[in-house]
Symmetry: C2
Subunit: 293 residues, 2 copies
């Protein structure tokens, strides 16, 4: 292991977070930007790293997330679950054409006929355990465009599922027949809780149209339709997971995470927030140490 400071990059589809870590893995600074992989032209990744090194110094770079996908800098194969942090470190891929840069693989799983993939979330989840922010046996939830539910057993990712919850909400808000009714606030409250409760009681495709009917018939105030729909989708997402009596470790900001926490509570579970920046930094620091780069 070379040691010394490094740049840990969480490089997603639409956003990028660059963390400057000291030799002990502590976060010295973080730069957030919209330089996600969609914003980078093919062949443009080398120049991006050069620009970062202009600003932060000529440091080793370890990147995770969609940067390792077919649409990113270079494709890095998934590690099949069950996977621990050593398994990720073992196949850390050197970036082609950029010196002293490595890309973390994603994780794939097949459970009961269901296939799933992740890129980036594995570093946060396993890093949370490495940093003592989550226990080695835990259910982790990472709300976002594509919400992840990760089962950790003895510090390994044993299975996970991705729900299209956030993307579906955005599709309905931006493009559907419901769009004109969804300009109200999206917050926890009676309408959100009613959505969570309704989700357990029927066919989701039917309940989506039911939002429109309820507004037209005066059963649901138009200003509360967005909160109700959010509750319906998050309730449909969380409700299928036997959460009652369980603790869910949330890697999320307080706003979206707060909605998940409310739904989890309504479903009889308990939620605990994890600092996702600290978890990611711990994950990268641990991978670096295990891989001797």
């Amino acid at each position: 292991m070379k040691g010394g400071p490094c740049l840990a990059i969480d490089w997603g589809t639409t956003n990028r977070r660059v963390h400057l870590l000291d030799a002990g893995g502590a976060v010295l600074s973080t730069e957030r930007s919209d330089r996600g992989i969609r914003a980078i032209a093919p062949g443009g990744f080398g120049a991006e790293i050069a620009a970062l090194r202009e600003r932060f110094g000529p440091l080793p770079v370890i990147a995770a997330g969609m940067v390792g996908s077919t649409r990113g800098m270079q494709e890095v194969p998934y590690v099949p679950a069950p996977a621990d942090i050593a398994a990720l470190a073992a196949v850390l891929a050197p970036a082609a054409g950029v010196e002293d840069m490595w890309i973390v693989p994603g994780v794939s799983c097949r459970t009961g006929g269901h296939a799933d993939v992740m890129r980036g979330e594995e570093v946060q989840a396993l890093g949370a355990v490495a940093a003592g922010l989550a226990p080695a046996d835990a259910l982790v939830c990472q709300p976002g465009t594509h919400n992840k539910w990760i089962e950790l057993r003895a510090g390994r990712i044993t299975g996970f599922a991705t729900a299209m919850t956030g993307e579906l909400f955005a599709l309905l808000r931006d493009h559907s027949i419901l769009a004109e009714m969804l300009d109200g606030p999206i917050e926890d409250g009676p309408a959100f809780r009613a959505g969570v409760a309704a989700a357990g009681q029927g066919n989701l495709l039917e309940q989506l149209f039911g939002v429109r009917a309820a507004v037209l018939l005066g059963d649901l105030p138009r200003t509360q339709a967005a909160a109700f729909l959010s509750g319906l989708l998050i309730g449909a997402d969380a409700g299928g997971r036997a959460i009652a009596g369980r603790t869910v470790h949330l890697l999320a900001d307080r706003q979206l995470g707060g909605l998940y926490a409310a739904a989890i509570e309504a479903l009889g579970g308990v939620s605990l927030f994890i600092d996702s920046r600290a978890a990611f930094a711990a994950g990268i620091h641990c991978i670096r140490g295990l891989s001797h780069v």
Copy 2:
């Protein structure tokens, strides 16, 4: 009842079908166009009717569908279910400012806390019974952007549900992360049937993302992703309805109707196609007779 020929208009959001009926209710001709209510400027409906009368003659007009909605020509209140064809006829609304034109009300229902509405489908469903194309006790399905499931008892609409199946497929195909994978054919076959079977076995939000994961991992050929997704959505729609052993009367074209028929069969039901044009014409003719317009 004045009798004589009339124009029966099925006036939806994006399409319009104008049927010329003779005094006995037989369809003499049909004009299909994209002059749905979205294509008509506010205040422009009178000119549309005048133009139709230029072409077809100075005939009475009876119109059903979204023309009677808040976005249409004028709002006509819903008739609450249970509703039969006489209930529709009783509140046929004269069109404001256009002589000898009437608008059929829609139907609303509230079943077990679920609110729903329809405009236009009620004429087809009740018309199918009036014409002897469906029995007085029947489960009717009208696939489309917003698929309707209608329960008929003794010739009355006793309850119904609308599923956002078609719209959700279009949203995913046009705007989602799955979009790039959905250019294959949408047809009945092993991939469609696998989607129908999968729908009964998990969380829909998760299964939607699973389509992407299955393609990325090589479990689902990209060319079959659209058919699989179609099966997943139609299976999720039809699967919640205890179809096994029942006959479903389909008011649909052979292409989309064929997919529903395949899903219904896979779920243990039987499907029968109804001629939707004949059903609509019979419904309007019957309403006209009962209303004495």
